[in-house]
């Protein structure tokens, strides 16, 4: 009897105290919140959907949709220590103001640079139906050739030979050789290292003249994993910058 009683007490004690330990452990690393504000520009001016503008190649365009995924964030502190943040996926959509402000929980008081994947990693492309930002409901998933559209830019232009003068760039593909995800790394300006809020600007002109030229006149449509999609992804991988001014 005595031993049974003893064992019971031990088991109870151990389970109660170990729960306490786990909780404590979590709190040890100092965490803080960092808000990222995404803002979109066209030739330096604030992007306004549905209004005429000119791209860097001189083509008259009206942008109707601009959306992209960001995921797999990590931050680097002053000592060069890289911390991967828990897996999170965000769909940034020009048409949805709330989607353009995201909040990360990061370790440490100051960080030197921030890194993320522009797009959705291959694992989530082969794991069936997801929810939240990755829900196929968001129109960023190809149902006939499974995989996410990493980024989308759509609109009209008089120079487009496609039906309805549309230009539609749906950039996706995650398999070897056709992987359109791009790693983006942004240094923080000196005075922003402790900021609680950082504005990241995406300049749409980079789609048309990032690393190579993308003329709507020549290629108004990209709808599948392809060399063209890779080229456009290379272009827009250069679109982000962090504004020093605050």
């Amino acid at each position: 009897m005595k031993t049974i009683f003893f064992i019971f007490t031990c088991v109870l004690l151990i389970s109660v105290t170990s729960m306490g330990f786990i909780r404590d452990g979590d709190n040890k690393i100092q965490q803080r919140q960092l808000a990222l504000i995404f803002q979109h520009t066209m030739g330096g001016d604030k992007l306004v959907l549905g209004t005429p503008c000119k791209n860097i190649l001189g083509e008259n365009i009206i942008i109707e949709k601009f959306k992209y995924y960001v995921s797999n964030f990590s931050v680097t502190d002053n000592n060069g220590q890289i911390t991967k943040l828990p897996a999170q996926y965000f769909l940034i959509d020009e048409a949805d103001p709330l989607s353009k402000n995201i909040i990360l929980t990061i370790p440490g008081a100051s960080i030197k640079s921030i890194c993320f994947l522009l797009g959705v990693d291959s694992i989530k492309n082969v794991s069936g139906v997801q929810t939240g930002a990755l829900d196929p409901l968001n129109g960023m998933f190809w149902t006939w050739n499974s995989g996410y559209i990493m980024a989308k830019l759509e609109g009209t232009s008089e120079v487009s030979a496609a039906q309805g003068h549309y230009f539609t760039y749906h950039i996706g593909g995650f398999k070897n050789g056709m992987n359109t995800t791009r790693m983006i790394s942004l240094e923080l300006p000196e005075k922003e290292v402790r900021a609680n809020q950082i504005t990241i600007t995406a300049e749409i002109n980079q789609w048309f003249k990032g690393k190579s030229e993308l003329k709507i006149t020549e290629t108004p449509v990209c709808h599948s994993p392809s060399a063209l999609a890779m080229r456009i992804a290379d272009n827009y991988s250069t679109m982000f910058s962090i504004n020093a001014a605050h």
Binding site: L12, G128, W144
Partner: protein, 357 residues
């Protein structure tokens, strides 16, 4: 005495504690279903740990499979193109009638043994079974609006809310759950009880033409239609000339690789007697026309399979024996299994009238 009392007190405390931990899930106890791998078959590729099979999941999946509200115009359910008496193909149709979209440029394959299949569609464009319903539901490549309306149709239905709760623990209805539930139904469509299977298990024996046909089959066909699935799940060009009205380039559409031009998934030949017409676009109306293709009409092009560079030499005699063998692949237990019949028709010996137009 006191010690005994203490022990009891401890015992009660532990009981209460465990009760407290499980109280959340007390009302959510779906009944698990064991997935049985037929003897001698490989391990399935579907990851059941992410979607454990349950009775409730199956009931919901079947309800969805036979519900025409999943289609844009409310006229077509999965079951109207995938009919049980045709091993879940579109019985006796080269192309399925439905929405006016890309799907109808191909022949609806039978649906069975999907747990062993990694990629779906004739070009393998879909990489997970849970994703499969999205393609027919959305009809066009990227019609996200329609997805929204389907979920809201289901959400406003009291019975569906109950079925989702029974299967998943709460009433949330989203695409992930629709996909998982549908998979629960599709995964259980296992066809492993044909005469061929019985012979392999030693429960029956082939008659002579079947036996001869089996031997010819092993020589000339298993390079692609490999046992026991009767497909090796690869993509091959068997020399079907391009139909210019649809210009279907097959696997190349998915990989963008010229070497994949005109390649299509090797179809399983299980239940082949029931899945006519044949070929990815249903261009062959009978087994005989398939054989005529293999031995005469094939067009050998740059991506035609190495096994078929000289076409297939088949005598009339061999065709007769092969046909006899292929008929042993019909699994009538599966074709008549009342578990898979439309809800409400489980006890009805006659299949429902042909509901497509």
């Amino acid at each position: 005495m006191k010690l005994a009392k203490n022990t009891w007190v401890m015992f009660v405390i532990v009981l209460i504690a465990t009760g407290w931990i499980t109280v959340d899930n007390r009302y959510f106890k779906p009944r698990p279903v064991k997935f049985i791998i037929p003897p001698g078959w490989p391990q399935p590729v579907y990851d059941f740990s992410k979607n454990p099979l349950t009775e409730e999941g199956f009931v919901l999946g079947k309800q969805l499979f036979y519900d025409s509200r999943l289609s844009k115009d409310g006229n077509f359910s999965c079951g109207s193109c995938h009919q049980q008496f045709g091993a879940f193909n579109t019985y006796d149709h080269n192309l399925s009638h439905g929405f006016n979209n890309a799907l109808t440029t191909r022949n609806a394959p039978g649906l069975f043994n999907l747990a062993w299949q990694k990629e779906f569609m004739w070009d393998g464009g879909i990489n997970h079974l849970d994703l499969q319903p999205l393609a027919p539901i959305t009809a066009e490549n990227e019609m996200a609006e329609t997805l929204e309306s389907v979920t809201s149709k289901l959400r406003s239905d009291n019975q569906y809310r109950k079925l989702f709760k029974a299967a998943f623990g709460d009433e949330t209805i989203n695409y992930q759950r629709i996909g998982k539930a549908m998979s629960q139904f599709l995964l259980q469509l296992v066809s492993s009880n044909s005469k061929y299977d019985k012979v392999m298990r030693g429960e029956a024996s082939f008659i002579l033409p079947e036996q001869l046909g089996y031997e010819i089959f092993q020589k000339k066909c298993t390079g692609c239609h490999a046992e026991p699935m009767f497909t090796d799940f690869t993509y091959r060009n068997t020399g079907l000339p391009l139909d210019l009205s649809v210009s279907d380039m097959g696997r190349m559409k998915i990989t963008g690789d010229k070497n994949d031009s005109l390649k299509f998934k090797v179809p399983s030949l299980r239940n082949v007697a029931m899945t006519f017409p044949y070929g990815h676009d249903g261009r062959f109306f009978s087994l005989l026309s398939v054989f005529e293709h293999y031995r005469k009409n094939m067009v050998v092009g740059p991506t035609t399979d190495v096994l078929l560079q000289k076409k297939l030499i088949l005598s009339n005699f061999e065709i007769g024996q092969l046909t006899a063998f292929l008929y042993t692949l019909t699994d009538s237990t599966f074709l008549k299994d009342s578990r898979f019949a439309p809800p409400g028709f489980e006890n009805n010996a006659n299949p429902p009238a042909d509901i497509h137009q």
